[in-house]
Symmetry: C2
């Protein structure tokens, strides 16, 4: 597989190297300083930010293409990526916009070139450990950065819609699957776990209800240690019971039949 180094190379070799009409886009979530973060790329030739994405090599599995994008943009691998939706509206690719964008960047492209076509994209999302990510731009971008979710109002093409849909999937997932592993440190306090849920849901939750419900699910366990050093009474530390966590991931929080 030839690695792509420039837009010119995609224009010249894309039709030969890649599947026509299909792409992947990855919504990479991280959690840091009590903020839900999303990894974005600043596009060349457009004053816009985009989700990391890519094409699928002629002999490449689509899931591997998504993993490759994640690996190349973050430096991490073996992270679970979840397909969440296929975006296949005819109007999502705007030929004129793309032609203009490339023109602005000084790139000449024929309007029947491979890159100026309708693409159907498969959205994937991943929850990654913020501290291990080394954001790395690709051939189409000048930088790669974490953005606070709340600051993202507009993105390239339909990427805001893709991000919103990923977030919706993640929020639904909170109702029937556990979350937090990969996003929180190994040991955490109940308020920290609650803050994660509140950040994803973008609303406050009642402390007692949260604690009761979380205990009922059984995938967090209270440790004997407490968090030292605060001004208040030292709060208990918790960690995930990975066996129960994994079971709840597979069966849902209700358990299997």
């Amino acid at each position: 597989m030839a690695q792509i180094k420039s837009i010119e190379q995609v224009i010249h070799d894309g039709a030969k190297l890649f599947m026509p009409s299909v792409s992947v886009d990855c919504v990479i979530f991280g959690f840091h300083d009590n903020q839900l973060k999303v990894l974005l790329l600043k596009m060349k030739g457009a004053d816009q930010w985009a989700l990391p994405g890519g094409f699928i090599y002629r002999d490449e599995d689509i899931d591997e293409a998504a993993s490759r994008v994640l690996r190349e943009r973050t430096g991490i691998q073996d992270i679970f990526l979840k397909q969440f939706h296929v975006f296949g509206q005819p109007k999502r690719s705007d030929k004129k916009f793309h032609l203009n964008m490339m023109k602005k960047d000084g790139i000449k492209v024929n309007k029947d070139n491979w890159i100026i076509q309708r693409f159907i994209t498969t959205g994937y999302y991943a929850l990654v450990d913020f501290q291990f990510v080394k954001p790395t731009p690709d051939f189409s971008s000048v930088s790669c950065e974490w953005w606070d979710l709340k600051d993202i109002h507009e993105l390239f093409m339909d990427h805001k819609n893709i991000l919103d849909r990923a977030l919706e999937t993640l929020r639904l997932q909170l109702n029937y699957q556990p979350i937090g592993y990969n996003l929180l440190p190994e040991k955490f306090t109940m308020p920290e776990l609650q803050k994660l849920y509140e950040t994803i849901l973008d609303k406050s939750l009642d402390r007692r209800n949260f604690q009761r419900r979380m205990s009922g699910f059984g995938f967090v366990k209270r440790l004997k240690e407490t968090r030292q050093g605060g001004a208040h009474k030292a709060p208990y530390l918790y960690s995930f019971d990975l066996k129960k966590y994994k079971k709840a991931l597979e069966e849902g929080l209700q358990g299997g039949w």
Copy 2:
């Protein structure tokens, strides 16, 4: 949109009419005589059965393509189709097999024709009311029939894998979402609902646990009527509380945060 009437037409006009490399496949489930059924097509030129599927017109939304397939094969519309997975392994399309299949059917096709390419397919599934379906074959098939799920051991290409994955999604869904509307008559007995769950899960469930759990979910309500005419004590009839059913579909059976 030109309707496709023959394989020859696809070979001749496919590249012009349809998106390259992408398709949809639909797993259409029904429930009848206490059996979970799947709608299948018997292929021309191959002694094999396949899932109903199709291509995506150049200016068509991918979800609309799936709805069109469902509509054309069943005669029903406005049924909720759910994307469940994208199948994008390079080896899923076997060129030789397709060339041979067409040859057997007396069709000449060049090996670089549009139809002899790698396709990435999006799987959709639907739960439909068996009694309203009029199975209708398409241009590539000689018949369209309901099969008992338990009798399906092998299918065209990777369609058995697609079916298995749809079934897996459906089984997981039982753990966190309600099911039964569209599949059961308006009024049903608790044993009938249990039988539906048992059929989808392919295992027996304890009667009391099932009843307790189902009551706890709150989306079925007991009516004042009983089912008359059996040899035993007349069992109570139930129906779905559609408001609660819909809420549980949206939030999961645990409810929202």
